[in-house]
């Protein structure tokens, strides 16, 4: 079996108590340990719905699609490692009152290890056939997110989803996002 990878991560202004963080947090905390194909699809449908509503809050983002097996698996491992090692998360709180200080940000990440050559893979490949000069446009993110209904989880071998931060006092700061480790997040234009 060969694999393809699709991944997407966005950084958005974090408003503690706001709808985007609240809903993404709820989705992850209520996601079942063992899930049916339909449950997986609904999970991401709801996540995408919230992301689309919050599109104006996006500041940075990136997305990947690889249909080379080795690259896909290595890349998926990287996205998973981003959660497991908590590399993007703050090691300590950034403060609970973003309204009186600098801005706070959240990131939401999702990645899928797809069966290469499956109808889902073909659909994602078509969905992500974006001209290079438009890769990081807000409309492109909207286009890609809107098209994720094509995901059929019968053809998805593994998926990962994570939200930074979990707690309101741990939002990322401008300084955090300026760190080299976040260079992969491109400014959304």
């Amino acid at each position: 079996m060969k694999h393809s990878l699709f991944a997407l991560e966005v950084a958005a202004r974090f408003e503690p108590g706001g709808r985007l963080h609240t809903e993404l947090h709820r989705l992850i905390t209520t996601a079942p340990v063992n899930a049916a194909l339909q449950q997986k699809w609904l999970f991401y449908k709801h996540a995408v719905k919230e992301l689309l509503v919050a599109m104006p809050l996006f500041t940075r983002g990136c997305w990947d699609y690889f249909d080379d097996d080795a690259t896909a698996k290595a890349s998926f491992d990287q996205w998973v490692a981003g959660m497991v090692t908590e590399e993007g998360a703050r090691p300590e709180p950034s403060g609970a009152d973003p309204y009186r200080g600098s801005a706070r940000y959240l990131t939401f990440t999702m990645a899928f290890l797809i069966v290469n050559g499956s109808p889902t893979d073909d659909a994602v490949k078509e969905l992500t056939a974006i001209p290079e000069d438009r890769l990081w446009h807000r409309q492109t993110f909207e286009h890609v997110l809107s098209g994720l209904g094509v995901l059929n989880f019968a053809s998805i071998k593994s998926d990962v989803a994570y939200l930074i931060p979990r707690d309101s006092g741990w939002g990322l700061t401008d300084e955090d996002l300026a760190h080299q480790k976040f260079n992969y997040l491109r400014p959304i234009v």
Binding site: Y65, K73, E86, E87, P93, K125, A129, D159, V160, K181
Partner: protein, 482 residues
């Protein structure tokens, strides 16, 4: 309402729930299993080991190059280290700390984990000259404390448990059959004592038992009243181990009380014939760093004919599973057996399928008037005979003329290629094809019994296995993307 796994194929296997981050990973179990069978990850191994830059083929449409320039991750490099050294240093499950051991033939027999700490001692030889050949490696794995576990990346450590916690007892029909055949062969050597002034030692025979691990252990248990086992299991189990050493270890634990009893008996009475016990899976085919762990090893037999003679052996009997195995030894034994033969040692083989029950034997239920040890062993074997009949049992020493048959054989076994076996020098990845004198080194394939690891360039510290599912270096070492 409950659901079957087929209804809920996705299983969450990772969960992070901390103030700074919350998330999870799920696996589609059926697809993952299917993929494991196909084992296509050799491609990754080849590409990554070659140096890592992956580009130029397939569609790479966006390429975030996630954190490939991270300054918080150390720069890393690849290297290969001896698998056993890494397990001893960093834990038996090195690189797969959260993966389960799979056992073949789990039994419900009561199991005494507390007794496992004496396993190596209970299975060690008593005879001083045999002690140097004994490999306690496998038995020592159970309670080993890895001294450098704490030096690994934190994701490599979470969930580590001593091997003894993961052990389960096993017992299989094949083990039962091998045990019975060990008893039956022992009965033949015990029968030599029926001749005036003779003992089993008169045969000057040494056994090399080369069976699948659990069956090798079972055979040794069955034969241990006449032969002194010298176990040569020189590896540790691993969740992805290409050699299923956990089954061998579990079989050893199953027969531990019997071995302990036989050992105590040996210490009180006469010297037994040497019996070197090998796991036939030790040089199994290995192909994929990404899905397998190379815990293979080569046999460490006495390196010369003189070495065998010093242990009292003029004859070597190579015990194999089937008659199709009886014509050729495994590659890593070739040099030794050729040396033995060239040095005047008579080397023959015998297969377990040369032993069987006599379904026509009307006398089974009629014990001899004065049963001796040989009769007792035959009875304990379930009346398993050489050649598959009571009448052919004592033809063994006709086919292997190392002693006078104690009793007459009324029939002869069918075709037995083992009695005509002669080792012939072969050049293989494990044999030189031209051994002479005393074997000083053993041939091995390149990278044999090694594991790819990731090393922090700045410090030289081993971060973990290259193919651990959890290693953070996977984020920074690829170098692919835009």
């Amino acid at each position: 309402m409950s659901s079957s796994p087929n209804d809920q194929p996705f299983e969450r296997d990772r969960l992070v729930d901390k103030p700074g981050i919350i998330g999870a990973r799920w696996w589609h179990a059926a697809l993952a299993d299917q993929d494991a069978q196909i084992a296509r990850r050799a491609a990754i191994r080849n590409i990554l080991i070659a140096g890592g830059v992956i580009a130029g083929f397939g569609a790479m449409l966006a390429m975030c190059a996630k954190v490939s320039t991270s300054s918080s991750s150390p720069e890393v490099s690849d290297a290969r280290k001896t698998s056993l050294d890494m397990q001893k240093e960093y834990g038996w499950s090195f690189g797969a700390v959260d993966e389960p051991l799979v056992f073949d033939g789990v039994t419900t027999k009561p199991f005494e984990p507390a007794a496992l700490h004496s396993l190596a001692a209970d299975l060690a030889p008593v005879t001083r000259s045999l002690v140097p050949f004994f490999q306690a490696t496998l038995f020592q794995s159970l309670e080993a404390i890895p001294p450098s576990l704490g030096k690994l990346d934190p994701t490599e450590i979470a969930g580590f448990k001593p091997l003894s916690v993961s052990m389960q007892p096993i017992f299989t029909n094949k083990m039962a059959a091998a045990y019975a055949r060990g008893k039956s062969l022992a009965s033949l050597f015990a029968s030599v004592s029926e001749l005036p002034g003779q003992t089993p030692a008169t045969t000057k025979a040494a056994l090399i038992v080369d069976l699948p691990g659990p069956e090798a252990v079972a055979f040794a248990a069955g034969a241990s009243s006449v032969f002194e086992p010298v176990f040569l299991f020189d590896n540790w189990p691993h969740p992805r181990g290409v050699v299923h050493a956990q089954d061998t270890l579990s079989a050893a634990a199953y027969y531990q009380p019997l071995f302990a009893e036989a050992r105590a008996e040996r210490a009180r009475t006469y010297t037994r014939l040497p019996m070197f016990v090998l796991d036939r899976g030790r040089i199994a085919t290995y192909s994929d760093d990404a899905t397998e762990f190379d815990n293979r090893y080569v046999a460490k037999l006495p390196p010369s004919a003189a070495g065998i003679r010093s242990l009292g052996g003029n004859h070597v009997l190579y015990v194999v599973p089937g008659s199709y195995d009886a014509g050729r030894e495994l590659d890593d034994l070739n040099d030794e057996l050729v040396l033995y033969s060239a040095g005047g040692i008579d080397v023959k083989s015998v297969s377990l399928d040369m032993f069987g029950p006599d379904t026509t034997d009307a006398g089974i239920s009629t014990p001899p008037r004065k049963p001796n040890e040989s009769d007792r062993l035959v009875e304990e074997s379930g009346f398993i005979y050489y050649g598959g009949s009571r009448g052919s049992h004592h033809a063994f020493f006709v086919d292997y003329p190392w002693a006078k048959p104690a009793r007459a054989a009324t029939t002869r076994p069918g075709i037995n290629p083992g009695k005509r076996f002669e080792p012939r020098a072969r050049t293989t990845p494990y044999s030189s094809g031209n051994p002479s004198g005393t074997l000083a080194t053993k041939a091995r394939p390149a990278n044999f019994s090694t594991v790819p690891v990731v090393i922090a360039v700045g410090t030289g510290i081993i971060l973990g296995s290259r193919y651990s599912r959890s290693g953070s270096w996977n984020r920074s070492s690829g170098g692919f993307g835009g």
